[in-house]
Structures are given as C-alpha cells and as structure tokens.
C-alpha cells in the first residue's frame, strides 16, 4: 500500500511509519529514504544513532536529501520503502546554500508522482504545520504553502492517509491493514 502519514512533531509518526514499512516488506528489501542534511555535529551523531537503530530493524538507509526520483530504476519495484520526511525534502529542495527556489514544489510533485507510480509499498511521512496563529515572513509562508502542495498531491495518490495525534491514529482515507 501507498501510505501517507502526517501530524504534529514527536507524536509517533515515525514509529508508526517504521512498523508499517516493516509489515509491508515482502522480502524484496526494506529501505529507509533519509532526507535530512546534517547541520552540525549533534545532527551527525543523531543521524548515526538512528541509522544504527534502523539497521537493527532490518532497514537499508538510502540518503536522498534531494531529487527523490533518483530512487527509480535503482531499487526493486517490490521493495518496501519509507520516506521520512517530506518536510526535510521540501526544505532541501527549496533552500539551497546560494539561492531559494520558491517554485521548487512544481519540480518535486512530478518526481513524487513517479516514485509513487513505481513503488507500491511505500510509506511517506510529513509534518502538519498548518494550524497555528504565528505569522511568518513571506519565504517561510511560501515554504508552508509548498509543503502543503506536495502533501496534498501525495495524499491524493496514496491508498491510505493517516493523521497521528499523540500516538492515536485517524484514518482519513482508505484502510489501515496491519
């Protein structure tokens, strides 16, 4: 199944996503698509720790902070994939060291569409950052809007859409078969 998961931070999205990806593994390979770019030594250590944890769960880590469509043709179509997260992917695609691509989502959506077309067993995680009263600068607001665009495109293509709130699950679309 193609499964989209969103919700607040530290609410249990990644834990659920890992369980679902493991349960969808047919034996053709279990892949964790890492999207974070470390910004300091703390990050490097945290990423190494998470990676070791996942290896214990049987995941192979693929580093793809940008250009997610590079997954295509390299990995088996019947593998089980976990992409965590669209939040980081959108950030990396939009904010480069030397420029900001305000229209990055227009490039990213077709890439994600192709990835979802190719891989049937995939879990994609994002973050719900849309219900606060904070007023952001124009670029941050553009980032929120862009992430929402890719969330909605992915959710539309997924079989199942789940909201996680403090480990509680709401299924907004499809069914959750575990």
């Amino acid at each position: 199944m193609r499964i989209f998961i969103s919700g607040g931070c530290k609410n249990g999205k990644s834990t659920l996503a890992k369980q679902l990806a493991i349960s969808q593994n047919t034996g053709a390979g279990l892949y964790y698509v890492a999207t974070m770019i470390p910004t300091g030594e703390d990050d490097v250590r945290r990423i190494a720790r998470h990676r070791a944890d996942r290896e214990g769960d049987g995941f192979t880590t693929i580093e793809h902070p940008r250009n997610i469509s590079r997954l295509l043709s390299v990995y088996p179509a019947d593998g089980s994939f976990l992409v965590d997260s669209l939040t980081a992917l959108m950030q990396n695609e939009m904010f480069r060291a030397d420029f900001h691509d305000r229209d990055a989502y227009r490039r990213v959506i077709p890439q994600l569409t192709r990835v979802l077309d190719a891989f049937e067993n995939i879990v994609i995680v994002s973050d719900f950052i849309y219900a606060d009263a904070q007023r952001y600068d124009a670029l941050t607001e553009r980032y929120r809007e862009s992430l929402a665009h890719i969330d909605r495109a992915v959710a539309a293509q997924c079989d199942t859409v789940i909201e996680v709130a403090y480990s509680c699950i709401t299924v907004h679309k499809g069914e959750l078969i575990t």
Partner: protein, 126 residues
C-alpha cells in the same frame, strides 16, 4: 449554514467550490482589513481574517459575531484553524487566536454541517 475548517492550505476553498458546484465569483473573501462582511455571495472565505480586523480595531468580537449569525443561515463559511500552535507573544495575535476559537465554536454550534479538511481530504465533524 455549512462550516468548513482546517489548517492553512489544506484545500478548504477547493472543496467548497467543487462540492457545491460554485465558482470563484461566488466567493466573498475577507481581508484582515474587512470590518463588515457582505453576505450576498454563497461562500464567505477567510472568516478568521475578519476577526483579526475586529480585534485590531478593538471591537467586541463576540457581539459582532452574534449580530452576523442570523445572516449566515444559508451560507458556506470557510475559516482557517489557527488554534493549534504555541501561544503567540504578540498580544493582538494572541487575542485574535482566542476570538477565532470562540467565534468558530459559535459557528459550529449553529451550523447544520461542519467539515474539516486535512491534506485535501474532507471529514464531516457534524
């Protein structure tokens, strides 16, 4: 009254236009300077923005909401949920957030249907 809520960019307006077979010309859009909502068009968009205008102008928000309610019986109201973040430092934004909460509860209590959008997907709450 139909009330459509959800976070920013979740597809509230797209949903309303598609479900009720309406067009952008059927939408009255509130800005953060809108002091009076005109109720000629079937969809009233940005209810939360109107509340911000009232807060800034130091109106009694709930009195204004009560006055408006009878005119909303056959309307589709769209409001953005701003209730789920950290308490804002700015006192105006803090008051806005609370007044939108109170006002949206009133709308929901008076609505025959409340729909929440989440990544483009509607869920009927009432």
């Amino acid at each position: 009254m139909k009330l459509i809520i959800g976070g920013a960019y979740q597809g509230k307006l797209d949903y309303a236009l598609s479900r009720f077979e309406l067009h952008k010309s059927d939408v009255y859009s509130c800005k953060e300077t809108t002091m009076t909502i005109h109720t000629k068009k079937p969809i009233i968009y940005g209810f939360d923005q109107w509340i911000l205008a009232l807060v800034r102008a130091e109106f009694n928000v709930q009195t204004e909401v009560d006055k408006l309610l009878p005119k909303l019986a056959d309307k589709i109201i769209i409001s953005t949920d701003i209730s789920a973040g950290v308490v804002p430092l700015d006192s105006i934004i803090r008051a806005w957030r609370e007044e939108v909460g109170r006002a949206t509860v009133k709308l929901a209590q008076n609505a025959d249907e409340v729909v929440r959008l989440f990544v483009g997907i509607p869920t009927r709450l009432k």
